[in-house]
């Protein structure tokens, strides 16, 4: 089944105001940067974005925040973005902060057909407010609901025409679970190859989870915290 679309414009067709999007990445690592740039161009607004972080002021999801395109963010850590913090503290932006492991598992559950699960994370904190608590093995757990999205947008290192994906190093992060949880999943890849060129043993995300795939035109891959050691 050929999932290839021509370019980012074609890949993002159908995304409208008010929709819920999942966007892969951890910090600026493994984010679908070509698709984010296209969302800015499209000017879609009132979006609910599910993403571990919110980018920085001038890159990643920060670009969508800058244009006030996001109505609600569901994330675990947003500390690197001053505009985000401003919009949140002033009430312009609705923010649902949830523990990182719960966020990952909620996406996985959404894609795996599990409507909810119990986790100890967040018990006794603000996160547990309004959630069912149940004890297992003498320890309290809270009920967390699965997450799904109208569109999941992920970034992979290599992909083939069938939509099979391979991620590189820590750029994998949330991408595989989000790919599973999108009603329509769009993958932007650095290398797009014909089916058969990727070893089936090496596939991280099988193509069944991917509806559209395209080769990203340009990857800036900005580094958030450049840390190095001195050569002796």
């Amino acid at each position: 089944m050929n999932k290839v679309v021509k370019n980012v414009e074609e890949a993002l067709v159908g995304i409208e105001d008010g929709m819920t999007l999942m966007l892969g990445g951890f910090g600026l690592c493994g984010i679908p940067e070509n698709s984010i740039a296209q969302l800015v161009k499209m000017g879609v607004k009132d979006l609910t974005c599910i993403s571990n972080n919110a980018g920085v002021d001038d890159f990643g999801l920060g670009l969508l925040l800058h244009g006030r395109q996001i109505k609600k963010m569901i994330s675990s850590y947003v500390g690197e973005n001053a505009e985000f913090e401003r919009q949140m503290l002033s009430g312009e932006l609705i923010v649902d902060l949830i523990p990182q492991g719960s966020l990952a598992e909620r996406c996985r559950a959404g894609g795996a057909g599990i409507p909810a699960f119990f986790t100890p994370a967040g018990y006794g904190t603000e996160v547990a407010e309004g959630k069912e608590v149940r004890e297992f093995n003498g320890k309290p757990h809270i009920l967390e609901m699965a997450l799904t999205a109208d569109y999941a947008i992920v970034k992979a290192w290599k992909g083939d025409t069938e939509g099979n994906l391979i991620f590189k190093a820590t750029a994998r992060n949330f991408n595989p679970m989000m790919a599973m949880a999108g009603k329509i999943t769009i993958a932007e890849v650095e290398e797009l190859v014909p089916a058969g060129e990727l070893d089936p043993n090496d596939i991280h995300t099988p193509g069944i989870f991917v509806q559209r795939i395209f080769k990203g035109e340009k990857f800036e891959k900005r580094i958030e915290q450049r840390t190095v050691r001195v050569r002796n």
């Binding site: 910090g27 600026l28 719960s102 994370a121 580094i223």
Partner: protein
């Protein structure tokens, strides 16, 4: 004299046991990796999806696709593994990681920890901290004894929104090593040259002080 951040990290590194998988939080905890005791082999897990973290890369060898949970460029050691976020937190929630070291804004004598939010002022989010503290068997908090205003962060009861309840068992500050038991702090060691009186004065929570308090051996 009170320890600096590296001193706190060095003292925490003495807690590492051979064969452990360890998750280090952002800030002082990250420095613990620089002081692994001789003869001890540990693997560092970073919750964004890597086991077997190595040192920072040499200049010019940074890879944007290879970072730790603090978004810093890193390298990996021989035998490292990459994985997705759901598997990463399976390691954490499933208690396959033996030790978690993280920072805090406040710790209370029943083991509660607060480190993710100051209402109305600062909201960074909890990241992986809530998952880590809810499941880790061993949690060591690395923190300064007081905040910038000079108020104690070692409290009877936390005032900030909590990250986890009743989970912290050990705290290492620039002044002391404290253990939490029976709803009290126990003074275990003091930093070289720091008096017991100073520690008592800077601790708001109930503190049990034995007759003899040894100095940390660093």
């Amino acid at each position: 004299m009170a320890l600096d951040k590296n001193g706190i990290a060095k003292r925490i590194a003495q807690e590492l046991k051979d064969g452990w998988y360890v998750n280090l939080g952002i800030g002082i905890p990250t420095l613990v990796a620089n002081y692994i005791p001789e003869g001890v082999e540990v693997e560092f897990q970073s919750e964004n999806g890597v086991l077997g973290m190595g040192p920072f890369p040499f200049e010019g060898e940074e890879d944007a696709d290879l970072i730790n949970a603090g978004k810093q460029t890193i390298t990996v050691r021989k035998g490292a593994a990459f994985f997705d976020s759901a598997m990463s937190f399976s390691m954490i929630r499933g208690q396959h990681v033996q030790l978690t070291v993280l920072g805090a804004m406040e710790v209370s004598q029943n083991g509660d920890i607060a480190n993710w939010k100051i209402p109305g002022k600062m909201v960074k989010g909890m990241g992986g901290a809530m998952d880590l503290v809810a499941s880790a068997e061993n949690i060591i908090v690395a923190m300064m004894h007081s905040n910038r205003e000079g108020e104690s962060k070692i409290l009877k009861k936390c005032t900030l929104p909590l990250t986890g309840v009743g989970c912290v068992k050990k705290v290492v500050t620039e002044l002391a090593v404290l253990e939490i038991r029976d709803n009290k702090f126990y003074l275990i060691e003091r930093a070289p040259g720091v008096s017991v009186e100073e520690i008592i004065a800077k601790t708001e929570g109930d503190l049990v002080v034995p007759e003899f308090v040894p100095e940390m051996a660093l």
